[in-house]
């Protein structure tokens, strides 16, 4: 009987380690990616608002050519900004249109984050379940006394 239990315990443990934990790690990584995207867009929004506030028409920046080698660049007209709308497309917006787009984008990202959070929670719950199962299997042969629940 013991060996059977041992086997079951081992199977459960393996299941946790091989499937549930990597799944969890994966889900968390995806969610982090979306957090990053969210941050990018909120930064962009702040910048656009800044430009609007100061009515900046032309801009001088330093462009990274790669390996941190910069070169001066001039933007003569900042009225039109090209924003990445996904799938490799960039759309030319005016400032106000850009801001509208950014808020729409943010909503979508928030929804995605919610989904991932739910997924992560369910995976964690599964892990806990399996651990409890293992504990039960191990504790019953070890302790003759039944553990009373503490309310």
């Amino acid at each position: 009987m013991d060996s059977l239990r041992q086997e079951k315990v081992q199977k459960f443990e393996e299941f946790v380690d091989r499937r549930l934990k990597p799944d969890l790690v994966h889900a968390i990584a995806e969610r982090d990616k979306i957090f990053d995207q969210q941050k990018i867009f909120s930064d962009l929004r702040k910048n656009i608002e800044n430009l609007e506030k100061n009515s900046v028409t032309s801009l001088r920046t330093l462009v990274n050519l790669g390996s941190e080698v910069y070169m001066q660049a001039e933007v003569p007209d900042t009225q039109h900004i090209f924003v990445d709308v996904g799938l490799g497309f960039h759309v030319e917006f005016t400032w106000s249109e850009a801001l509208k787009f950014i808020s729409l984008r943010k909503e979508k990202l928030e929804r995605q984050i919610e989904e991932y959070t739910r997924l992560i929670a369910s995976i964690k719950a599964q892990i806990k379940l399996v651990c409890e199962g293992i504990r039960e299997l191990l504790q019953i042969p070890e302790e003759k006394t039944v553990e009373g629940r503490v309310f």
């Binding site: 867009f41 790669g66 390996s67 941190e68 080698v69 660049a73 933007v75 039109h80 090209f82």
Partner: protein
């Protein structure tokens, strides 16, 4: 046959190095190898980026302005122009920037490329060593599976004890057992081979050490005397008995996994000398770790056996490494001779490390010696010389420093 003097044991390889362990070791080496491969790929990518950037930087000054899309954060662009096309702001590291022209930037990038390439070369050397080790593990695993048997014969009573001692210190590396087989068979031949190798490698040493010899003239003389004496003693001893036998085995068995390459550096004949070197190394912080490893592992010469088959590899390493700085130089030098030519190398490395130690001025003063009888005399002389130099810190230090600069 003097049976009373000759004792022997027969042990099967598989009992000494169980197949699983060997496989585990092989797997570890493979993992390391794949890690190094990834690093190598990354470095190659960097090099490719660097060259393409050099091309770009060279082309940009051809025009006054370039029309581009200027990025604004990670998700937006502005149409704009590149201006001042001959002025580049280059990051030197640590938040230091510098404004340079195109030509100067190209020079900076070329220097970066060179350092990347040297990194790639060292990585290649490391990978080659790993591959050799992996092949050894594999072959030993197959041999152990076949049931190869190791036969040891001793000629002295002392040596039996030692051998049994070392036999009990079992470690994972099967290459050692392999070495034992080979070594047991061809001891006499080796002596002759060793002497000739000694000469060969001495010459190489001299060639490589040309630059640094000026600094160490004084030390050379002092050390040359002792080390020569030491060398003779050791060689006599080795030829006389099967002591060499026990030394090899003791050395083999004490090898550990990690230091298979540059850090591992045993020579049978001159354990003491290497120890001296280690103590001198103690003076320098980055090398402290290595020296500790040496001490603990008693300068095992895993390459005594692997050296037989691996000479081309380690030699290649040695040559490749000449540029890499004195310390590493010493290590590889001491590596490539492996079984052979320990004394001359040690001589050089002792001198080199001695001057280094002097100038770094951090002699710990504690020499841990558990050497054989042979080495005590040389140890004594070296100790006194070291101490005497230590007692006058200012003079020798300044001399060396001047010479160094």
């Amino acid at each position: 046959m003097g049976k009373s003097q000759v004792k022997g044991t027969v042990t099967s390889l598989s009992s000494m190095f169980p197949a699983e362990e060997v496989q585990k070791a092989a797997k570890m080496v493979e993992d390391k190898l794949s890690d190094k491969q990834n690093e190598m790929n990354q470095l190659k990518e960097f090099i490719a980026n660097n060259t393409s950037l050099i091309n770009l930087v060279q082309k940009l000054p051809d025009e006054l302005h370039h029309d581009i899309m200027v990025p604004f954060g990670k998700a937006a662009f502005f149409p704009g122009r590149l201006i001042h096309t001959n002025e580049f702001l280059v990051l030197l590291g640590e938040s230091y920037y510098t404004e340079r022209t195109a030509k100067q930037t190209v020079e900076i990038l070329k220097r970066r490329g060179k350092s990347l390439e040297s990194k790639v070369n060292t990585l290649k050397a490391v990978m080659q060593d790993l591959k050799a080790e992996a092949s050894f593990f594999d072959s030993t695993a197959s041999e152990a599976a076949e049931g190869l048997v190791e036969i040891r014969e001793y000629e002295e009573d002392n040596s039996t004890e030692r051998a049994s001692q070392s036999g009990s210190l079992e470690l994972e590396t099967p290459s050692v057992a392999e070495a034992d087989n080979k070594m047991g068979a061809s001891e006499d031949d080796e002596y002759a081979r060793i002497m000739s190798r000694l000469e060969e490698l001495e010459k190489e040493e001299l060639a490589a050490e040309d630059n640094e010899e000026n600094l160490e003239d004084e030390d050379e003389d002092a050390n040359a005397v002792e080390s020569d004496g030491n060398e003779d003693e050791l060689i006599k001893a080795a030829e006389g008995d099967g002591d060499e036998d026990e030394w090899t085995k003791a050395a083999f068995h004490r090898k550990k996994d990690e230091c298979y390459s540059y850090l591992d550096h045993g020579q049978r004949y001159s354990e003491s000398q290497s120890r001296k070197q280690l103590q001198q190394f103690n003076g320098k912080e980055p090398i402290e770790e290595m020296s500790n490893k040496y001490k603990h592992q008693d300068l095992t010469n895993q390459f005594a056996s692997t050296g037989l088959t691996e000479e081309p590899v380690t030699k290649g390493n040695y040559e490749g490494e000449i540029s890499h700085g004195r310390i590493i130089q010493q290590d590889t030098k001491s590596l490539s001779p492996s079984i052979n030519a320990s004394a001359p190398f040690e001589k050089k490395s002792v001198q080199a490390s001695k001057s280094e130690f002097d100038s770094s001025k951090a002699f710990t003063g504690s020499i841990v010696e558990h050497t054989q009888n042979l080495d005590k005399s040389s140890v004594g002389t070296n100790m006194t010389s070291l101490q005497s130099s230590g007692s006058q810190p200012s003079k020798p230090v300044s001399r060396f420093k001047m010479q160094r600069k």
